[in-house]
């Protein structure tokens, strides 16, 4: 892809939960500095795939390569080192509800660096500015709206300037204005910080807006991975059906 080297690769991933064969040989490659959206229906295994990319789940077989290193066989200690390259934005933001916004966003700094309190305040302030939330440091997650929580989640994910940011359904449950805002944030984060992004989504509009490539996941396999323009011309029946539901109404 574009000649850029792959940042993350999944090779022939298989994963079952009991009798439920969720991933049935997933192959995926995300080029450095690009944004790849994994598109698929609910229950197609998108979140499971994403959890494999950061090593939260181990595949039954197959490999996950991050910057040339296979993370599947790594020990928890080695994985901890690799995870410093990642920031992850969770579907429900997954903010620690016993902590303030400042404590949430500064959490990775506290754990991974020896910054002073004042430096942390500054760094947190900068990242909150990027996500468009100024002066909410002392609020608790329960005081924030869903859209704000997601943005705080993104601020926390990028606080250590990771090389890779994973987004789990970033626009699900948001109103159109917040959806637009979050889309723009993903684009900005890529431009400003040069991060490689993997976004999982079933939101076709967002996917076409933010992505460099779209990987379509169905029946536990990636059946197409193409730039958005080419994906629209895909002849794969599942892709056609999925896109027609959206473009049929909105084109």
């Amino acid at each position: 892809m574009d000649g850029a080297r792959p940042m993350i690769q999944a090779i022939d991933l298989h994963k079952s939960f009991g009798t439920n064969h969720v991933l049935r040989g997933v192959n995926l490659s995300v080029a450095e500095g690009s944004t790849c959206v994994i598109l698929g229906a609910s229950g197609s295994g998108k979140t499971v795939l994403m959890k494999h990319l950061i090593g939260l789940l181990k595949p039954d077989s197959g490999r996950v390569i991050v910057e040339g290193e296979d993370i599947v066989s790594m020990s928890p200690e080695q994985l901890a080192v690799v995870r410093r390259k990642f920031g992850m934005v969770f579907q429900g933001a997954a903010l620690f509800d016993s902590m303030t916004v400042f404590e949430n966003v500064s959490f990775p700094l506290r754990e991974q660096t020896k910054m002073s309190e004042a430096e942390m305040r500054k760094a947190v302030g900068r990242k909150l500015e990027i996500v468009g939330l100024v002066g909410i440091e002392d609020k608790y997650p329960a005081d924030l709206s869903g859209g704000m929580r997601k943005r705080v989640g993104l601020a926390r994910a990028i606080i250590l300037d990771p090389k890779i940011v994973l987004y789990d359904e970033p626009t699900t449950g948001l109103d159109p204005i917040n959806t637009d805002y979050v889309d723009q944030m993903i684009i900005d984060a890529k431009r400003a910080l040069g991060v490689t992004s993997v976004v999982i989504s079933h939101d076709v509009a967002s996917a076409f807006k933010v992505s460099d490539t779209i990987a379509f996941l169905t029946d536990g396999r990636i059946v197409e991975q193409l730039p958005p323009k080419l994906l629209r011309k895909s002849e794969h029946p599942a892709v056609k059906l999925f896109l027609s539901t959206w473009f049929g109404k909105n084109d």
Partner: protein
């Protein structure tokens, strides 16, 4: 239609097999759970001796489990001592053996009532909260979030809680003893008219330090067990609010059962 035909044709299993299958499933389920708790216990032990030591988290839990339970434990202790003194003095007065009220209450409290009741109170007050909190963190992906930030959730979340149980339940149990004896003294001496000298002297005569130690060992084991069970259930919760509720119910039941079963085992083992 096809389903009905198949149902009619398919031989029905012998009811006896169903009973055996049911019992078998329950037994393997219990064994699986006990194994899960045990392996989590090993994990907790392993991560408790590794840096970084999270002093803040530990103190927060010591405060929550220990300091937060002082009032309720002492209140339970006072009333347990009072009712026990009341009942036993009524019985002992029948055959003029009221001098035995003090020692009877003291031995029962230190060896049995204090560790068991303290552990039960801590289970209800603190372990239920732990289980719910951890369960909510699990289902809202906060546990995953910790892991993605390269923080081990067992070390960050579970180690301080289990240590707090291990340390604080024995201390609370001592408070229970103290409060219980005070309550018993009040009832026996002030209400039942037993002489203070007899009460204290006989208690001192019969109660050995080993009785107190036995109670403390029990309390430590109970504290470790109930916090571990609560953590296990919460940490492995799934299925949203309903799942968390179910995990907490299961944790309460399992903890209470663990307390009475371990009480018997330790009672036998420590003699």
């Amino acid at each position: 239609m096809a389903d009905e035909v198949e149902k009619a044709v398919r031989p029905q299993p012998n009811p006896a097999y169903l009973v055996v299958e049911y019992i078998g499933k329950r037994v393997t389920g219990v064994i699986e759970e006990v194994g899960g708790v045990a392996s989590l216990g090993i994990d907790v032990a392993r991560w408790s001796i590794r840096p970084p030591i999270r002093v803040d988290n530990l103190f927060a839990q010591l405060d929550f489990v220990g300091v937060g339970s002082i009032f309720i434990v002492m209140l339970t202790g006072v009333f347990s001592g009072m009712v026990f003194a009341h009942q036993s003095s009524r019985a002992f007065l029948l055959f003029n053996a009221e001098s035995l009220v003090g020692p009877t209450v003291a031995l029962t409290l230190t060896r049995e009532l204090a560790p068991v009741f303290t552990a039960l109170m801590v289970t209800m007050r603190a372990v239920s909260a732990m289980c719910t909190e951890l369960g909510t963190m699990r289902v809202t992906e906060q546990v995953d979030a910790l892991e993605t930030m390269a923080v081990n959730p067992v070390q960050y979340l579970l180690v301080p809680r289990v240590i707090a149980g291990l340390v604080m339940v024995p201390l609370l149990s001592m408070l229970f003893n103290t409060a219980g004896m005070a309550g018993a003294y009040f009832v026996a001496v002030n209400l039942q008219g037993i002489s203070a000298g007899t009460f204290l002297h006989r208690t001192q005569q019969w109660l050995d330090p080993e009785d107190i130690t036995e109670g403390l060992i029990k309390a430590a084991v109970f504290g470790f067990a109930v916090t571990l069970i609560g953590c296990y259930k919460g940490y492995n919760a799934s299925g949203g609010a309903k799942g968390v509720g179910q995990a907490t119910t299961e944790a309460m039941v399992a903890s209470a059962l663990a307390i009475v079963m371990l009480d018997y085992v330790l009672g036998v083992a420590l003699h």
